[in-house]
Amino acid sequence: MKKTIEDLSTHLRDRALELRKLKETGVKIVGYFPGGFVPEELVRSCSAVPVGLVRGGDHDAVQATLSYSCRFIDAFAKAQLGYRLLREDPFYQMIDLYVVPIVDRNTGAIASYWEFYADAEVFKFGVPHLRTDYAFKYYLDGIKLLKDRLEELTGIKVTDEKLKEQVDLYNRMRGLFQKISYLRKKERPPISGKEFIKLNHDSYYADLSLFVEVLESLLEELKSKEGPVKRPRIMLTGSTLAMGDSRVVDLIEASGGAIVIEEFAEGVRPYNHKVLTDGDLMNALADMYFGRRMPGAFARPATGQRFDYLIKLAREFNVDGIIWYNMTYRDSYNTEGFYFEKLLRDEVGIPVLKLESEYDPVEVGPLRTRIETFIETLKTQKGA
């Protein structure tokens, strides 16, 4: 029996309960920060369940941290503590370990907040900003320490055999994500941006084996499907696209725009590379998760490489405009965003709209005005 999107919905509806029961039997639940630097393969190789904590967008969760957080930390980071403190989201309560790769002060703050106020086990490791041999070794050491910590937590050794099995499964998922996403290069994308983003967010919670089967049947279904022609075509990029933070996505689609490709540091899985399995597997994990990974705005010297990549994506997906969406106080993205906007406008000729959010309900009106105007302007300019 092929697994379908309906099966996935049923699975996710019951997932928290299922995991709670598994936890009672001694299975460890490992939460991690969804920035694409945690090799989930390691978690599953220890028979633990990885859960990407990727929720955001709620003002309540930000408010809940006001007594503990400093002002200039981004709202997504704050909300990660908020969900734990509010005790409403079961996934934020049930984890046995929270893995946070530190890329900048915001991710650093999340780890510290959890250590100080969440009464939780946190495993931090650093992600270097540079791309040198030394930096590679540093990252590799980080994930080796993570492996040790996971083995200690679960009492299960990560063997090459188990790791290879998980790498193959994750490679399949990444490949399927890429194929599904790339169907959106078509004039009539068979899947909307909102649907694709939801699928991506679901992947942080769903059981991997089931999820891969769902993607397989979905890909088959989408290959022959044609969606409506929607213009303007939009690339959405920036710092963080959290699950539940749907305002910008909804406003773009409601204004008639179609999101055809997205690139984010957090909340959207990198799916363009696979882990190579012909050499040392830990080395191969570091190579995929760090070495070949498109660096975020916090890395250096990332900007030129990132911009070339974003412009390439924009052209491949035939986008009419780019919406840059970053969290307020996410300095690296904020700074880069202004430069990117200028470069694109002056040299590449693709219009850019830069947006910011701190998950404040008061932002909705101005966000709507900006997005509606931008989409309307693209329609006029492109005759789209």
Binding site: F338, K342, R345, P351, E363, P366, R368, E376, T377, T380
Partner: protein, 259 residues
Amino acid sequence: MIIAGIDIGAATAKTVILDDDRIRSCAIMPTGFDVRQVSLDVMKAALEKAGALMGSVEFVVSTGYGRRSVPFMNKAVTEIICHAKGANYLNPQVRTVIDIGGQDSKVIRVDEKGNVVDFIMNDKCAAGTGRFLEVMATVLQLDISEMGSISLTSKAPCQISSTCTVFAETEMVSLRAEQKRREDLVAGIHKAVALRIANLGARVGYRDEVILTGGVSKNIGMKKSLEDAIGIEIMIPEEPQIIGALGAALLAKNELSKH
């Protein structure tokens, strides 16, 4: 052909009635609390002046932050697009529209057809808006309408460093305690707002001709400070508050011709 544009702004509600290409009438009133009610009232006021009935209006485009709450609108369009259209109707040479509204400010680059080429809008903050000036007028015990002429008599505008309305109010209280002259304070306030707007729009760029719209453009001191800040002469329309509603009405005409 009677068509209408209605602009429900943060501070005032405006309506323009067009008879083909000609402005037949307009009305302006404070927005108040009830957006639905004020949209009916301002529409009625403009129709009365035009000697027309609601039933004769063929198409209504609404704009402004309350655009979606206008019960009788046929289409809602953002104020940025409407200001561009309205300014273009008044003068097709206009390439930059600076709109300082009650709640936010925008700098809009416009093409020869009145289409938006680029725009920028201030953040969720009152700095550089009409609201900022209102708060400062209260501190200085001035009527908002007096600020312009008073500021022109200043020979040494004060330095107001805060861009935040609340902090600027505090700063104003200390400057007042230092016995600074009122005209210097007002001129300093205008300068602070002007610099804020100049920086805001630098990304979009200021190109000839520049037009200033929104209620704040009635303030002659503000116009002068802005001109100093951007180094370009600024045009002020006869009725600066109705440009958004005018643009909305012109878009209504376009919409009608499509049907």
